[in-house]
Amino acid sequence: MSATEIHASLCTSAADEWTALVATAVVGTDRHPLPPAALGWDVWGAHPDPAVALLDRAVAIVAARRAGTLAAPPLPTPPPAPTDHRPACPPACIARLHRLLAGEHDELLAEWLQLCAESGTRPAWSALPALLLRGRRKPEFDLLVRHVAGARATWLAEALPELGIRPAPKAGGSVVMMQPPARVPDSGATVAAIVLSFHERAATWAAAPQLRHLVISLEPRWLAALIADLAGLPFDDQSQRTRTELLRLAEFRDAMVREFHASAPTDSTVPIDGERVYGDPHG
């Protein structure tokens, strides 16, 4: 017999041996006699106690099977997704996206996606399911995600139907793609107004949502000025919480914009309006 034949024969007899052992063990050796070992599996002297003998023989099969496990045959894989030539956005941006998806300042999510599209990069594909799932009840957000993700979103919905992603909503229908908040017409004046609200003791916790909205509507180049002004305010017990909240938001947004700016590829096919978004406020 060749080695392959011996192997095949041992595999067959191992299956027989195991089946016999399981059948006997289920009923119990008290009620069912232990059949003799299958060909090639008479590996050690039979113990006089049939229960011990059964276990001894089972150990041989189990050890051989664990050590001799083979991979299953190759499987058909899903059709490859359409090629996407955009580079993935930088690791810092991906890390920030995960923080946004975890719920931290998630009102900035739309702006993150827009920055990503403008920089000519794509989101990390591993974040795509979370983005798509978030869009399941918000069609306008879904449109934005699919706009940024491109063909991979449609591919994923088909490859993984159990994810429960609906087909892409039709553009041009009643749903309009989500946009980041419209920029305030005069960011400098808005920064001054925010700071003034603190001086006038109007920046209560109740006013925080409106102030937050102002912060995310500023031209990003004014964020540094806002951060400096807020940090320089004298301590005030009443508005302390609002101030901390606004500072965190402004710093988060400032960092988010800078991360994309720092990494924008120079050979990007998507034009970037650097002056509008990233210009130096003091320049």
């Binding site: 119990g28 229960a51 150990v59």
Partner: protein, 468 residues
């Protein structure tokens, strides 16, 4: 030419008066069989009350000692007792027993190497004015450092007491397992969780915690699916193998015996592990997994040696570093996934090098700059098979594969390449991320392989690690 020592000289080799007294008690001719000596060595079988006879040998040129008793102290009382018997002229000239011959021959080779190279394997102990070089070179090259005699003795006594409790517990376990096979797996008491809890509790009492956890896991398989009889017989067979092996460690090869000790719950002191010869390499932190066992959170950190400049090296060196947290407390991540640390790793004893301790860190952890090499499915399964051949009771093995997620049907997925496929464990909840990242093309994943399938732990996007 060997000079026979006097009994006083032998007793002066004992690390303390209590150890000397123990050696005197052991030096009883009735306890020994096949004791003999020649010009280089003394050997014999010590008839232990509770276990297989211990095989004891002393190399008179060192003197150096070898004994198969569970004691980790050198010299153990059996070695000293034998030497004492020899000093009292109770040992006759004889042909070497096979184990003694093999060991003394190994010693010949080692002594020559030591003499020429002056390796640090020789630990010198000054004791009672006599210069005695006690060398403890085991097959794996591990060395036991000198300790203070009194603390050592107490520790040894605790160890032996524990070994005895474990022996009794393992005996009980084996009886119980055998009774299950005798009565049949279909017997109603097997489906009663209380039956299993009792066995697990007895094992905990016997300080075989590792086995108690295994028993509890088997209990959860009962009645779970149509093939549960097979799964339970599989696990009962392994419990039988371990409980028999643990009572016969003196007959097993040393590394396998060590593996059995660890699998049954005999703990190894960190100092002993750290005293071993380390493997120094740049270790890439490949992944981290956590499981809850009873009231303890167990964290496994998988490291893999980076073979710089040797990209064709097909054998990967994996190491598993464990950390524990009491129930409710998170275990802190000490070695961040995706980082490389240049460090000494010290291996726990065992049939295969797997569990390790991080010793000296030469260079703090820095993020990896290159993507880890993923193996083919076939190679990864083959490596797991070799590991399982070394320690058949192994429950997990690490893999890093480059393959494509592919649907198996019924919501199950697998990883596939041209060499084969392996299932992803049921209930892995971050599958969508893998599928999205792959886009139908191969991705590199590190994870744990077990009977349930492959549990992905880390997705590698280039050199960047995404913990799953």
């Amino acid at each position: 030419m060997t000079v026979r020592p006097t009994p006083e000289q032998v007793l002066s080799l004992a690390p303390g008066t209590a150890a000397a007294a123990a050696a005197v008690a052991v030096a009883d001719q009735a306890s020994w069989s096949a004791a003999g000596h020649d010009e280089h060595g003394v050997w014999g079988r010590y008839l232990a009350a509770a276990a297989e006879p211990y095989e004891v040998a002393v190399d008179l040129r060192g003197p150096a000692y070898r004994c198969t008793c569970p004691s980790r102290r050198l010299p153990c009382k059996h070695g000293l007792g034998l030497l004492l018997l020899f000093a009292q002229q109770h040992v006759v000239v004889a042909n070497r027993l096979p184990f003694a011959d093999e060991w003394l021959r190994q010693r010949d080779v080692t002594s020559v190497a030591e003499d020429s190279a002056g390796t640090p394997d020789a630990v010198a102990q000054r004791d009672g004015g006599h210069d005695a070089v006690v060398t403890h070179v085991r097959a794996t090259g591990r060395v036991t450092p000198p300790r203070t005699p009194v603390a050592d003795l107490q520790r040894e006594q605790r160890r032996l007491a524990r070994a005895e409790r474990m022996r009794v517990g393992l005996s009980e376990l084996d009886h119980w397992v055998t009774d299950r096979v005798r009565a049949g797996l279909a017997a109603p008491e097997l489906a009663d969780p209380a039956t299993w809890d009792l066995v697990a509790a007895r094992l905990v009492d016997a300080q075989c915690g590792a086995l108690a956890n295994r028993v509890k896991r088997v209990a959860t398989a009962v009645g779970q699916h149509t093939g549960w009889h097979e799964e339970v017989l599989d696990e009962l067979a392994m419990l039988h193998a371990l409980s028999v092996a643990a009572r016969r460690t003196s007959m097993l090869p040393e590394t396998l015996a060590d593996g059995v000790h660890v699998a049954t719950g005999l703990t190894v002191a960190k100092d002993d592990v750290l005293a071993g010869v380390p493997s120094t390499a740049a270790w890439l932190v490949m992944g981290e997994s956590r499981t809850r066992e009873d009231r303890i959170t167990v964290q496994r950190t998988w490291l893999r040696a980076q073979h710089d400049g040797m990209p064709d090296t097909s054998v990967d060196t994996w190491a598993m570093v464990l950390a524990f947290g009491a129930f409710g407390n998170e275990v802190a991540t000490e070695y961040p996934v995706g980082h490389v640390l240049h460090a000494d790793l010290h291996w726990y004893p065992g049939g295969i090098p797997l569990r390790a301790l991080v010793g000296h860190i030469h260079c703090a952890a820095v993020p990896a700059t290159t993507a880890p090499r993923g193996s083919s499915i076939d190679d990864a399964i083959a490596a797991a098979g070799w590991a399982s051949a070394g320690e058949p009771w192994l429950e997990r093995w690490a893999m890093c594969v480059t393959a494509t997620p592919a649907p198996l049907g019924n919501g199950r997925w697998a990883l596939s390449d041209s060499t084969g496929s392996i299932p992803i464990v049921p209930g892995f909840w971050r599958l969508a991320e893998l599928v999205a990242e792959s886009g139908g093309s191969p991705i590199t994943l590190a994870g744990e392989w077990s009977v349930d399938g492959f549990l992905p732990l880390t997705l590698w996007v280039g050199a960047m690690a995404v913990a799953l």
